[in-house]
Symmetry: C2
Subunit: 142 residues, 2 copies
């Protein structure tokens, strides 16, 4: 991977932003230093950074809305391969224990634990138990 000027500036833009920016946010900031940059270049390089592990996405579930009818508090087990979501009852996880202050004035509504990993079928164990298919390619390297 060639470390071009565009890449440096894009990467620094994410580093400097303490706010988990969107590609669009990055684009706007980078244009301050490279006015001719294309939004496509930002997307391409963000994808490259994700693939090589230089950056991470905050949520595995951008791309499409996922719904739930279970309104009781509970947690989620998420497969980073197929994006499958399994529920975990609230009692299956010991209460989360905060050891520091939150941002000033923040009012907690709820606490949700996400256990992220690979499900059996994505690890190649057992039959290919098809989940609901969703989401764009995410795990494929070019």
């Amino acid at each position: 991977m060639a470390f071009t000027f565009q890449r440096q500036v894009i990467y620094e833009a994410v580093l400097d932003s303490r706010q988990h920016p969107t590609p669009e946010n990055i684009y706007e900031q980078v244009r301050g230093r490279i006015p001719s940059i294309s939004l496509g270049t930002v997307y391409k390089n963000v994808k490259t950074f994700l693939d090589t592990g230089l950056l991470k996405e905050v949520s595995l579930h951008h791309g499409s809305l996922r719904l739930e009818a279970n309104m009781t508090p509970h947690h989620h087990v998420v497969c980073s391969g197929c994006k499958a979501i399994f529920d975990l009852e609230e009692s299956d996880v010991a209460p989360v224990e905060l050891k520091s202050r939150l941002p000033k004035g923040f009012a907690i509504a709820r606490c949700s634990v996400e256990i992220i990993g690979l499900c059996a079928s994505c690890r190649g164990i057992g039959a290919s138990n098809k989940k609901i298919s969703t989401h764009h390619s995410s795990g494929a390297r070019k």
Copy 2:
């Protein structure tokens, strides 16, 4: 809110699916019972259900990719109003303690705690400290 036949079938489709379906998934399933239903109707009613609290969305961050450069394990404080994301160091939360089995064959990669609520500015406390603006309307009733 009138409880039309379409609404009943859509809601049951989400209830029956143990898999956190997308609107598209729901559309496909509902078409089995109401072949003439429109995808737009599914979206409209899903939105209605979200607004009235009958359904919930799994992630507050579908819609647009959010990036992070902090590759050390950490947790997130998320404002459900403006979708702002604050980081919490791993040491700020006591280790998550699992009290049950996960789905057979699931390999844990990491555990992430999400503390969801309203930030100071979304509660109307303090100056309107603008965060990076992102995401479509989500909190607004029609």
